[in-house]
């Protein structure tokens, strides 16, 4: 009996080890489901907090028009 219990635990451990490496806790596409997960909210907020210097660098520079003589 003990052998079969040990074999079962061994099989489960193999599955669990695979899960530990690859299972992210949930499976599903939140975007397709139309929800914003807390983890996504944080990324969106980080994007909004983009530093002003970087924002200026990525936008086209406006050169002042030459002064009229």
């Amino acid at each position: 009996m003990k052998d079969s219990e040990a074999a079962l635990v061994k099989r489960l451990e193999k599955i669990a080890d695979m899960e530990d490496k690859y299972f992210p806790g949930y499976l599903g596409n939140p975007t397709a489901l139309g929800i914003i997960l807390p983890s996504m909210r944080r990324k969106i907020a980080a994007r909004r907090r983009k530093p002003a210097a970087r924002r200026r660098a990525s936008s086209p520079r406006r050169t002042p028009a030459p002064a009229a003589r």
């Binding site: 635990v9 489960l12 599955i15 899960e19 530990d20 490496k21 690859y22 499976l27 599903g28």
Partner: protein, 219 residues
Amino acid sequence: MHFRVLEGKESRPAELIFGRESDLSLLREWRLPPKLRRHEPARDAVAFARLATKRWRYHRRTGRIITRAAELRDAAARQTSEELTFLLLARAGWSTRSPILGLAHCRRTWCGHIFVDFLSVHPSIAAQQEPRIRAVGTGILCALCELAGQSGIPTVWGETTSTSVSFYRKALNNPALLDCFIISGAVFDQCRRRFREMEILPDDSSGLNPPAEQPTFTP
């Protein structure tokens, strides 16, 4: 439908049941412990549980839900083109955190296949809190295949994301998988075989595989 999960180094029983109204209150009790407030997978797991209850209630209002395995078998036998929704819960009465270890929100499509909307485990399992409970996600996925097989449904499919694709590649043994997984044919049989490796045999008199304990929690 029973299968085994790991708690620490021990195998413990879990039961896959169809979610009903009374079970939704157990899902609402999925809460984030204060120390996990910044743990993203745990927070996402709570969000998925809230979405599962919301969606289930919406479909119940339209009368397109399944709450028993027999209803799924019946829909397959009638070859109806109805789209039907069901919520599967992995229940374990011995769990001190919550009797619900995980959930899967699924749909029977118009042509009689099963589409996996989403699958999630309890936030403390997602956060790998002690005592660790493992193999719940695979258990639910393989039990879903077994349920489909018993109901005469040949295919389970769904969408993968950049975070979940590596899990599906490993679990379904298909390294070429991209944004869509289809479990049918040999892979389907392989998932059912894996489920049987995790299953509790109901007529086992050895005491090795006792029936799942009933939840001690009351809704």
